[in-house]
Amino acid sequence: MTTATKDQLTERVITALVEFGEEPENVKPESRFEDLDIDSLDLVELSQVIEDEYGVEITDKDMDQIVTVQDVVDFVVARQS
């Protein structure tokens, strides 16, 4: 497990969403998942990536509060500290 900076986390989340099939130019920190082609199963997969690589668990309940790419990054940063 590594403690990541905000920039590193942002880059990792964006990379994951692009791997899921989203076009790179569409994904910005302020992007809302509902505006991207990202559904609830993709978000579960994203939470698996984060738990695996950063040791931070994001529950379904946590996910309810997460709307944008930035929200994910902020959530992980807060839990890491």
Binding site: E19, F20, G21, E22, D37, L41, D42, V44, E45, Q48, E51, D52
Partner: protein, 399 residues
């Protein structure tokens, strides 16, 4: 209510290439898609046809189905059809479903635990996901389901779709089969039960035949109420004229030796099509290259067709592409239509040494012209599956 069922589009991805044309033309030319004892779709690159997102979220059997369906639907012009999408169904057969997904996710579970299992695993592995994916991709809002009857599944899907259209439950139905089961587990399992060929050669009806060669692929047909298709100006390629389906009720994997159940299915399909045995111009055999099938199928043809069995050209697509399991019936329906439209019987490859009592005209090694003498080109395609399923489709080429 009974309507005539037209075929307005066909598509295929097979070991002979991407496209229904590649399947028919290369098979007629005597080419084989089998390499190193397997019938892989080696010319199929999913990302050439599908988005990255589609590829990442689907099993290979669904990818093959999507591409075959795209071809069929484009040919039929179904995306522009002037009727409600709720009037279009989608029925897809498979023997197993997303087997490579099941195997790879099971390895992740064993090695890394539950949290490593993909949330996309279930929608990828389920056997109905090809039918669902086609409906989503093309907005087909009529009846939608998968058929599961091993190596008869693709033919069952087409039969069910034909009944749907005949009965008026849908104006059109996209139907076929897909399979991508050349995996570690399936190849081991088929080998251990003695079903696959240890020599890796598909030679149906040859006395040296020693099992089938595994293949993968998909084929899809667009079946459509003939009157509606004519009204909208669609080109009619042919007709799904008859369907017969029975069970052996004999053994889970061995065919009933006399072929009685298969013969009943042949008779039912012919009666449904109002075709006499003497009117048949071509038989696309199940012809697996297993010792048991090729013998019992020959018996079934003799029982059902009588004296005509010996004269109607009968060949096996599996000699060129291997056994595509749940896709086989659909691929062979497309191949049958292609042969009837070209007025040729494509060859049974590798048939060099006839077996005792297997004495039909199996069209060995080279294709031959169908002796039509002005009559319509009408054929049957046989599909039999583990579980004792027998399905026969009667197909007529458009004049």
């Amino acid at each position: 209510m009974s309507r005539r069922v037209a075929i307005t589009g066909v598509g295929a991805v097979t070991p002979l290439g991407v496209g229904a044309g590649a399947l028919s033309e290369r098979w007629e030319a005597g080419e084989s898609g089998i390499d190193d004892g397997l019938g892989r779709c080696s010319e199929f690159e999913p990302t050439d046809h599908l988005t990255r997102r589609q590829v990442r979220r689907t099993d290979r059997f669904t990818q093959l189905a999507l591409v075959a369906a795209g071809e069929a639907i484009a040919q039929a012009g179904l995306d522009q059809a002037p009727y409600d999408r709720a009037e279009i169904g989608s029925v897809m057969g498979t023997g197993i479903g997303g087997l490579s997904t099941i195997e790879s996710e099971h390895i992740l579970l064993r090695e890394k635990g539950q949290r490593a299992v993909s949330p996309h695993c279930v929608p990828q592995m389920m056997a109905n996901s090809a039918a669902g994916a086609l409906a989503i991709e093309h907005e087909l809002r009529g009846q939608c389901y998968g058929t599961v009857s091993a190596c008869a599944a693709g033919a069952h899907a087409i039969g069910a779709a034909a009944r749907m259209v005949e009965h008026g439950d849908a104006i059109a139905c996209v139907a076929g089969g897909s399979e991508a089961a050349i995996t570690d587990l399936a190849t081991a399992a088929f080998a251990e039960m003695g079903a696959t060929s240890p020599t890796g050669i598909s030679r149906p009806f040859d006395r040296r035949r020693d099992g089938f060669v595994m293949g993968e692929g998909a084929a899809v047909l667009v079946l459509e109420d003939a009157e509606t298709a004519e009204l909208r100006g669609a080109e009619i390629l042919g007709y799904l004229a008859g369907y017969g389906s029975t069970a052996d009720a004999h053994h889970m994997t061995a065919p009933e030796p006399s072929g009685e159940g298969a013969a009943r299915a042949i008779r039912k399909a012919l009666a449904d099509a109002e075709v006499e045995p003497g009117d048949l111009t071509y038989v696309n055999a199940h012809g697996t290259s297993t010792p048991l099938n090729d013998r019992s199928e020959t018996e079934a043809l003799k029982t059902a067709l009588g004296e005509h069995a010996g004269t109607v050209p009968t060949s096996s697509t599996k000699s060129a592409i291997g056994h595509l399991l749940g896709a086989a019936g659909a691929v062979e329906a497309v191949a049958t239509l292609g042969a009837l439209r070209a007025k040729v019987a494509p060859p049974t490859l590798n048939l060099e040494e006839p077996d005792e009592d297997l004495d039909l005209d199996y069209v060995p090694l080279e294709c031959k012209e169908l002796p039509l003498n002005g009559h319509p080109a009408v054929g049957i395609s046989n599909s039999f599956g583990f579980g004792g399923h027998n399905v026969v489709l009667c197909i007529e080429a458009a004049a």
